[in-house]
Symmetry: C2
């Protein structure tokens, strides 16, 4: 049996432990929801205040040049690029993940239409994050494409064929934490003549990502999860350099123009990834995102993404072991992979012990009961008709999650289950949840 | 001749003068560029700091509910709604102006395709803000539409006909400050069977806007100009209630879903304007925008938009009169309308005195020389082949612009022209300009 002392010993040996000091984390809170919203870096409040009071307040319009606001999409993009295995100048920060997915999926479909109009199918997972499926569905309505959803990751290769235009996946599945093999799936897609679009929402900053080496064609990612950019932080997008200048993306705004301040009536897309910009970026949010990305870059002298991945796996392995050791008999089932190589930076549990008997909100209630005990994970609703269970989700963020946090979280989970307190009505009040 | 004393007397009589105290304005700066980036409201720094340190830092993921982040798009939208003449629940804040234009123009074109596929033309002005034209051009590529650009506002009605799908205009033209007659043009568009899409970038918060009463169908607007929301503040969009639920907009992200937290694989658009949301909104930027909108609402007890409009016209009239009285003989030409009812909240000057003789950058140099004298207007490049002159642009913002500011600005302009200092090489250095 693993003890809390064992967990403390792991923290004492953790080379990344000092990075936790870069963040402001509420006292006594075990926060395992950095995969929904990363915590606040200590540097952010000061930096945002500087942007507001000095750069905006004093510098006003001149700050687009003098404070370098114009360069932020590329500047922050260049900081994210090494985290996802691409080169400087290949990635820009802009808009939201959904909007960026619309851009890159549109471009990928346009390239395929030009090459082979018979390729009209987008292949994805039924359990992919819904906004990705909605965007693909919407583009399908416009361009006569259809969405082919597979239920199991093992079924993806067989779903690829001569009608496949694009394989669109989230590298780490939001519901079950499954880490896809980007290299193998990209190779399979290319062998079938398809292009790949990867959503890195749950992988950028959480696991080593090697877009270029693993054969990705397009990618998008999220700024407010493992990049710690703040609520609704701008997202990013990348197109392989061999594609970036080959297609228009449809959101042809002035910041993507080759000469935005020439104010020409006709659109001339900028070369490369800059054409994936659209309107004016939200500067306050960009500044906060840059602070967040800097916290990841602070891990570089300590081993960078490889060290982060090693600690992430040690944290989730500890979580799994402790649940197995201490939370048996209540019907919890692991929904995330047990094999390290297949697991992202989260542990997912389906809770269906007695849910058949009028406890459809059981997983939600357990999450609420844990929050009352100052352990923050989150709940993701399932969909009975699609065979998706309700999920308790616990994300670990190696920059600030401690092994002792994992021990404490599982202990609180054990108590919630043993006491049955989650059955109390107050934990079943469903509001808006994120 | 109007004296500075006269200007001071107008300030002394100005009922809106106390509102200037709501803003942090650098000492000694005459800022006539609120139509590019509004100044910083005093409340903003405190509010943004609160969102960063407390709502994000302490409240973390729970703040989506507890701090009301989820409701911000509608909540701020409801504050903007009365400024543009629409009802609560009809307008949302989201994304950038360019992205929102893509949404509403897509929806308008979809409605027209369904009603009459022969309507394939978008009518606009050649001098419309380029990003609007680029978005229309891009949608045209996708849907087989063409863009018909008129050179003079008087030519718009004659350009509308049985092939017109949409009349797309910026209510106040960014280059020449021309205020279009929304009611007359909307009526002409409807008589021709066309729908109207209005960009309110230079009118929301600057002139009274009556979208519903004036027959508009769709509208978008900018948060960082007269709404004082900060650099790159989120934008807004509106669809007339009779249209809002009639079409999908293509950026079908999860925040526009009828039940975003049900995580259903299939898209079901929310009823009404909420379907115009897409991804997760940038909360820090939203909070700053709300502070900016609040500064406009503070004018309500003092007469609201009618009082703002009256002062705006008095300010621009004073600017025009002073230029005529004091800046003759240098070849300045008014590019903005002299008729009050046709003029937005800016005065535009074309400067071509001796520009034929190697002074192609003359207007730019004058703007730079003024900035060196602490008078901030801006420069907008012309386009010789389209007959658009280079422009010096001076915006007035009645919430904080004083009559004495106008007097001082014209006096500095007079000195720049009389001394000829704008011919100095240092004023001709072209960098990125916004």
């Amino acid at each position: 049996m693993t003890t809390r002392h064992d967990a403390l010993a792991l923290d004492a040996d953790d080379a990344l432990a000092p990075l936790r000091q870069l963040f402001q984390i509420p006292d006594g809170l075990v926060y395992l929801d950095g995969n929904s919203l990363g915590v606040l870096p200590r540097a952010t409040a000061t930096r945002v205040a500087q942007v507001v009071s000095q750069e905006w307040g004093e510098g006003l319009i001149g700050s687009w040049n003098a404070a370098g606001w114009m360069a932020l999409p590329q500047q922050i993009g260049d900081k994210i690029a090494p985290l996802v295995g691409v080169g400087a100048g290949e990635l820009v920060v802009a808009d939201s993940t959904s909007v960026n997915l619309f851009k890159v999926l549109s471009a990928a479909l346009a390239l395929q239409r030009a090459a082979d109009p018979a390729r009209t199918v987008v292949v994805s997972e039924r359990s992919n994050f819904p906004t990705d499926l909605y965007i693909a569905e919407s583009l399908g309505r416009q361009h006569g494409c259809t969405l082919h959803l597979v239920d199991r990751p093992e079924d993806i290769p067989a779903a690829l064929g001569p009608s496949t235009a694009v394989l669109m996946l989230t590298q780490v599945n939001y519901r079950n934490g499954r880490l896809h093999d980007m290299a193998a799936l990209s190779a399979a897609a290319h062998a079938a003549g398809a292009l790949t679009v990867w959503d890195l929402a749950h992988s950028a900053g959480a696991v080593p990502v090697a877009l270029a080496a693993d054969g990705a064609d397009f990618a998008v990612g999220c700024g407010y999860k493992y990049l710690n950019g703040g609520p609704g932080a701008p997202a990013f997008c990348w197109a392989h350099p061999r594609h970036a200048s080959q297609a228009w993306q449809p959101l042809a705004g002035w910041h993507g123009h080759a000469a935005p301040f020439a104010f020409e009536p006709g659109y001339q897309p900028a070369p490369g990834i800059t054409r994936y910009l659209c309107g004016t970026p939200p500067v306050l949010a960009m500044a906060a995102l840059e602070c967040g990305v800097d916290t990841l870059l602070a891990a570089r002298p300590l081993g960078g993404m490889a060290a982060i991945r090693a600690k992430s796996l040690a944290l989730t392995r500890l979580f799994i072991d402790l649940v197995q050791q201490r939370c048996g008999g209540h019907g919890l089932q692991f929904a995330s992979p047990d094999v390290d190589a297949q697991r992202g930076s989260q542990v997912c549990l389906a809770f269906s012990a007695d849910s058949a008997a009028g406890q459809a909100g059981a997983a939600f209630a357990v999450v609420q009961a844990l929050i009352a005990r100052r352990v923050v994970g989150d709940f993701r609703a399932g969909d009975a008709k699609d065979g998706l269970p309700d999920i308790l989700r616990f994300g670990v963020t190696p920059l600030y999650t401690r092994f002792a946090d994992v021990w404490d979280a599982v202990e609180q989970l054990r108590q919630v289950l043993e006491t049955g307190e989650w059955r109390e009505a107050r934990f079943n009040q469903r509001g808006v949840v994120t």
